[in-house]
Amino acid sequence: MRSRYFLLLKFRYKMIHTFNYKDKYYIYDSGSGSLHECDKLTCEYVKAKYEKSCQMPVISKEKAEEIEKDLNGLKEQGLLFKEEVNVSPIKSSNIKALCLHICHDCNLRCRYCFADEGAYHSEREFMSEQTAKKAIDFLIANSGNRNVLEVDFFGGEPLMCLQTIKNVVAYARGKAEKSGKKFLFTTTTNALLLDDDAIDFFNREMENVVLSLDGRKEVHDAIRKTKNGKGSFDAVIGNIKKFVKSRGDKSYYVRGTFTAKNTDFSNDVIFLAESGFDSISMEPVVTDIDDLAIKESHLPEICNEYENLCEKYLEKYENGKGFNFFHFNIDLDGGVCLQKKVSACGAGNEYFSVVPNGDIYPCHQFAGDKDFLMGNVYEGKLNDGIRNNFASASLFTREDCGDCFAKFICSGGCAANNYHFEGDINKPYKITCEMMKKRIECGMHVLARKKELK
């Protein structure tokens, strides 16, 4: 096995990335995290001379000197060709967050569900209140000096056991008061049972709510069906609208999934925006179902579709009808520190999922895989071997990320996706990498245009 020192050395790059979005040209400096805009000739010159990825354009001596002068000025300010810093990932034995699989059952039967339509390839079951409370105790006991703790109620469909959630939240609030902790709760729901009582409870207690809605009725209904095989769009859209109207300035996301069947997903995002939702996420499906899975052959049209989305998104923004699209929210001026950027997602080390019988897994996407069973909340211990494996996974252990411009923004991707598609949590899944890189370029373009319009 290569030493980590070797890997750290490998990352000491000075990397730039040039790209364009239609007639706008950009240079991104990976070492400093700076983004610059330039003209086409400058972009082509930099691409040819420093990225060595195209032919040198025809350019006068004077223009080349002018470009070099600009580049040197930025270099002196530490904004270009800056050596990438090799910092250590954040190491802590504290647990920050739990995903509570409050039930492994669902009132929908969505074909693409990674969780086997709610059952996670096992019995359909609900988490008992006792187990959920034990999970809260486990989180508090293992949170060390961390004050803010996060719990995500996940399923299956969590609203199938709303009373358990209410009781667990009340229990956690009481425990938090005594232990000096603060809980932030999230629920991910399909909104089928989102009635007035649930809305009222969510608005009081949930820091964030994620509502599943795939976009246009025909797109949503093609996949997200009830047990009787009927599309669920009409049953959920009113509930989600009512919830969002009541939400005020509290956080929520209407979250869609796109598949190989709707690679024109920009229409779904815009449909959601025009339905009155101003906080939207649209994610590529995670499945191996042949007619739904995103394959390499889909990448050109998907990347093109992100550009279409970018254009429509900016048009809305310019017309005063802007909305928040999760993947275009790249914050290059602020954001998290470098240590966080190299620390990967935290699954299996500071974030775990707990299934109905109290078993603990690195995250929701590993739930039920016995190779990744880490313990049980009733035992209160975690498998050190698995935890160390995840804790030591960082940007620096993902060698394929070394020469990728996006690494300090993406942090090496989803460990579960890496494992399920490439067989190794440290081996980035190429298809998601390509989509990620395109989204990041679009996010950078959005950032530039918004600043221009201010």
Binding site: H36, T42, L74, E150, R255, H327, G346, A347
Partner: protein, 52 residues
């Protein structure tokens, strides 16, 4: 002509670990650190909302 669009601000505090778990966001499949905020700065800017 090259125009700087964005450059990271110097961080007063780094590596404190107070940041939120990356996976606790909207997507649960393709989360990135690029759209996360520093919790310490967020709390300083908006202590009431962040429950300080």
């Amino acid at each position: 002509m090259i125009k700087t669009i964005a450059k990271p601000q110097d961080k007063k505090i780094t590596g404190c670990g107070e940041c939120r778990s990356t996976c606790q966001s909207a997507c649960k499949t393709s989360c990135t650190v690029g759209n996360q905020s520093c919790e310490r700065i967020s709390r300083e800017n908006n202590p009431e909302k962040q429950g300080k």
